[in-house]
């Protein structure tokens, strides 16, 4: 299990290939499910978002995501999980987050991957500030109730 928070642009497919080669025993996992979140150039009905700055809480971010991955590995029969999340300046079409999960059976991998990305979106301390045509804008998060509802979804 590995969690990385970094400023540098990364290639999610290269990351998954390398992590798998280095960490997964050969011939033991039956399925892997990968989620890649990518920056769009539109959001909340606004077009032409040219850039984004992703703020975070160094230390807590890593700690929080690691615990979520541990929870997922305890809850489902998964073999490994790897998360990479960027911070700092991000441009449209660049990957923001990678969540990769390997398991013996596919249903477990889907459930665990979805659980990790849902928690990460609604609980991990990251904040997006978009460069919109009319200026900089902090994206509004959901309230606690909406968040709880979505984590359950």
């Amino acid at each position: 299990m590995k969690v990385v928070v970094q400023e540098a642009l990364f290639d999610p497919w290269e990351e998954v290939r390398n992590y798998q080669q280095q960490n997964l025993p050969r011939g033991k996992h039956g399925g892997s499910v990968i989620f890649v979140g990518t920056m769009r150039d539109f959001n909340e009905g606004v077009d032409g978002i040219s850039r984004m700055y992703l703020d975070h809480y160094p230390g807590m971010t890593e700690k929080h995501i690691e615990r979520v991955c541990e929870d997922a590995m305890n809850e489902w029969d998964i073999m490994d999980a790897y998360v990479v999340h960027r911070v700092g300046e991000i441009n449209p079409d660049e990957p923001i987050v990678l969540v990769a999960v390997w398991s013996r059976h596919r249903a477990m991998a889907f459930d665990a991957c979805r659980f990790i990305i849902n928690d990460l979106k609604h609980r991990a301390p990251f904040w997006k500030r978009e460069q919109r045509p009319e200026g900089e804008h902090w994206v509004e998060g959901n309230t606690a109730d909406e968040r709880a509802a979505r984590i359950a979804s």
């Binding site: 809480y57 991990a124 902090w138 998060g141």
Partner: protein, 76 residues
Amino acid sequence: MKVSVKYFANMRDRMGRADETVELDEGATVASLWAKVSDEPMPENTLIAVNMEYTNTEEALKDGDEVAFFPPVTGG
């Protein structure tokens, strides 16, 4: 006792600072810390972490604690 305080995202903009060290009386809670750092009520939906764990305004603080105030998160 002393605690270190951090502000993130628009909470940092609102407070005009990213972090500070605050001197508190023994038995102080997160709520009493907030009253000391701001004249305004805490914005609705503010999230609070003490030593990087989510908590609420009732939590009693100890010397050396790290307290963070921030808005709902928007990662991923």
